[in-house]
Symmetry: D2
């Protein structure tokens, strides 16, 4: 994944956890705005894959306000149910197991409704509806901002439709040990995570666009 | 079940399919209105059980417009699901069977979500929700007004919460054979059905309140 | 307005209040069903204007259950607001009067919000929204079924989009004097009203399709 | 307005624009969480007025994510409409002016509906509904994060129900000139604004809780 915008000479590559420090507040502030409004026509921010394919708006996950991020919003749950249904498709034995039990319940209900003596009909349920039926959701503890960030990382890496996670101005909430742990945690997986920060962070690798618009790794 | 209103000297008993003819249009029209507004304070219609207990509004099922009656309205389906859940409670073996299969599906999903590696939680579903999950509904053919009436009778006799079905001005829609069949059909069960008509019906037993307010059986 | 269906040799014209008696219960019952399902492909009932133009489903107003007819349902109110807005369009002076007052209120609010010192914007309201704002609705007394029928006639004649009102099996609710009054009332206006009845009505003009499918005026 | 929490020896007073720097990330992060969850029982953060009265949850306005703050959310608009209605109450002449025009429109509509010849009724509208009718809303330009912050300040100072605005980690988005301007802008009004920051800000007055939990002004 790469990002680019007019002030950069070449695109920045985001393959690993990438901390990108933008020292100039104007540039920082505008860049954040561009991430928020990614996909609008006037937007000068480019995000694209190695194949030059532009990232879709739906593939971008931008988070400023970690504490108010709802892991169990209906849009997130819908993505999770889709993922789980696909995951189940890859395991035909387990899927047919569930279908076997569903059919048994179906038969029980049919028999029972015949006894009940009212002409009733039922639909075959979709596997995807099973998750909703069991009210499956993310077990978010949200104990601290750091813990919540780890949960967001976990969620993001499971949502195949999301290709880039951008955390904005979040490093102030982590101690140095927590930040190290977060970076290691992100490194263990393959999904790119971009952390955009307004100030240099001590002791971690970072790309800096300084006040003179000079880029250093 | 009995009904009474000021013009009657004694209450009318409705134990079997009861056809009640009210010849005076004013009285007929007002009686229909009172059935519609049963439960309102100014209402002069009394409906009560042998124990003198007044019928609750929720126990009365009044139908004028057979064709637009929706067997699968959410309020009717809710009653049916309750009935079915109670019916299942009376058959512990079948109920535990369904619960057994539900638990298996629950376990499959749990295992699958562990493999999927996201911390997910699920709720134990209520048996009553199973009906909604399978989108169980009444298989209404609604082929003719007569057939639809039979379906309404079937539905009514299964809804234990409904204690009296009142069909208003419906005999015009049935041939004499159909009416005979309808009466026999209702007689086979124990739930009282009152048919209120504006004119004498040939060839069937009926209670008549004539134009002189004289009551004959 | 004319109606036709296979059993008729020629179409029946409905120019004035037309009482159409169908003695055979099967034919009566099926005809009612066809009025309910007018517009569906299998339907054998034809309703058309003198120009042979078929009546649209939205132009037909079929009422079986007078007591539960809601004059102030959102769909009826929407039609009334449209009619009133058109009526106002025909009276430019009155319309510009209302707009004049609306503009004054608009200016007052603008001035007030400037004083209030927050940068606020407002939209020009549509005349049609004024009715909703004043919660305009039909003053239905619904004192008796007869009175309610008169109110329905009043409403129907004002709804230009409705081209045919069909009252089904309603004569049982009116005394002979009321029916006479109803017929006179309908005659005073130009909108066709069809009353379909299962039995001959004493003392009024009517078209009868008898048990031998023979049509008499 | 004052805030207090276990690590502080005495409460911090927030009378003017107050920048509060919390250097320890753990303390910073927990404090932010406490502002988010203000009002929950386990919360150790105290916010209170000079009279010792605790701030109500509804009186607190906490903003982390300036860009996604919606000035025209229904909850904010409801507050604005209330404020405007109260503002109008203080100016009886202007209020009676608006009522005068409303009555004129009411009369026009009544006259028109009499001509239209359908028995219609209307309700007297509430002054508060006038704002909704004219779809009054905040004219938010949201041109930059800084401009949006000024708009939030403007909004906040007009919402009498809000007693404390807390901006979290927002200084990274402003240039030094913008921050100076923001502070001057806030100083011109009487409503307390607390800005909580994770790092010392150059060139502005601030209260600092340093890494040794030592408080300096």
């Amino acid at each position: 994944m790469k990002i680019n915008f007019p002030l950069l000479e070449t695109a920045i590559e985001i393959e690993r956890p990438t901390i990108f420090v933008v020292e100039d507040t104007k540039v920082f502030s505008n860049l954040i705005k561009d991430f928020y409004q990614y996909g609008e026509t006037s937007n000068q921010l480019k995000i694209f894959e190695k194949t030059q394919r532009s990232l879709l708006v739906s593939e971008l996950m931008v988070i400023t306000d970690i504490l108010s991020f709802d892991m169990n919003s209906s849009s997130i749950l819908k993505l999770i149910y889709q993922e789980l249904a696909e995951h189940l498709n890859d395991d035909p034995e387990k899927k047919s197991n569930i279908e076997y039990y569903l059919n048994h319940i179906h038969d029980c209900l049919i028999n029972d409704s015949i006894e009940y003596d009212l002409d009733l009909i039922m639909e075959e349920p979709e596997i995807q509806d099973v998750y909703k039926f069991f009210k499956l959701k993310v077990n978010s503890m949200q104990s601290s901002i750091f813990e919540t960030t780890l949960e967001i990382i976990d969620l993001y890496k499971k949502l195949k439709k999301k290709k880039l996670l951008v955390l904005i101005n979040s490093c102030s909430y982590y101690s140095q040990e927590e930040l190290q742990e977060l970076i290691s945690y992100i490194s263990l997986q393959n999904s790119p995570v971009l952390m955009i920060e307004p100030r240099r962070i001590e002791g971690v690798e970072q790309i800096v666009l300084d006040n003179d618009f000079y880029l250093t790794n």
